[in-house]
Symmetry: C2
Subunit: 150 residues, 2 copies
């Protein structure tokens, strides 16, 4: 999809991403560096742990979900970073070979009063697995270029 | 440090992590997979971007900060995952060669009413750079094993 400017994002706008599979290798490699808890890096120990098997780091699920949104292309040329996340909830574990997709909805928008060449879009991301179960939800505050900045 | 059980974490308890350096290579490698925005993966394009140079993905800063907490050892044997994050704020950019450390403080604690073998500790993480500037803050809701589970 084409890049969208701040003005183009209406409250209530939604977009669905393509699904993407999570692999065991990726879970382990990510976790070794960014979340080295036993149930993310060691299959044998994970069996005795709180999830009964290996699960994805929630931080990895977060990065994958953002990347799914980014890959739609809508903020490719207009995204200027983000200033925060609210109410992130890990609802169900994500297992190796799960396939995740994300639905994004614009909840609010506000042009920056200090610098009106950009504005915040506040979006809800809902992450589903292949059984249409919600595994994670998170609210993001993205900074998006305004048309007036051109 | 020794693993701490739910009962051992008092409201107001704080712990400071060791500092850890962030490298350019790590910023780019992480971002290629989990946050492929230009200003995280391409030095030349980053110069023309909102930060004027390459910066760490906020998701990577988050994973590093959690890992710093994990490496203190206090939840090594007692951590049972987390159910959410609140009020994450990216306050200043993190640049290559910055050195980050995290201060963790217990804000609240609550034994699970459904399953009293564990409880939530709600913690504030404050991430500082080498100039003692706050680059990020986040509140986490960690599940911790209770002594009664033994």
């Amino acid at each position: 999809m084409k890049s969208m400017y701040f003005e183009d994002f209406e409250v209530g706008f939604t977009i669905d991403t393509e699904p993407k599979k999570i692999t065991k290798e990726e879970i382990v490699n990510f976790a070794k560096q960014y979340d080295p808890q036993r149930f993310h890096i060691d299959e044998n120990q994970a069996r005795k742990g709180p999830f009964g098997q290996l699960v994805s780091s929630g931080f990895m699920t977060l990065g994958k979900s953002f990347t799914q949104f980014f890959e739609t292309g809508v903020i490719d040329k207009t995204g200027m970073g983000a200033w925060g996340i609210d109410e992130l909830r890990w609802i169900k574990p994500v297992y190796p070979d799960d396939s995740l997709k994300t639905k994004i909805e614009v909840l609010e928008k506000k042009l920056s009063s200090k610098n009106p060449t950009k504005g915040t879009i506040r979006t809800l991301q809902i992450v589903y697995n292949q059984n249409n179960e919600i595994v994670m939800t998170w609210i993001s505050n993205f900074l998006i270029k305004a048309k007036s900045s051109n």
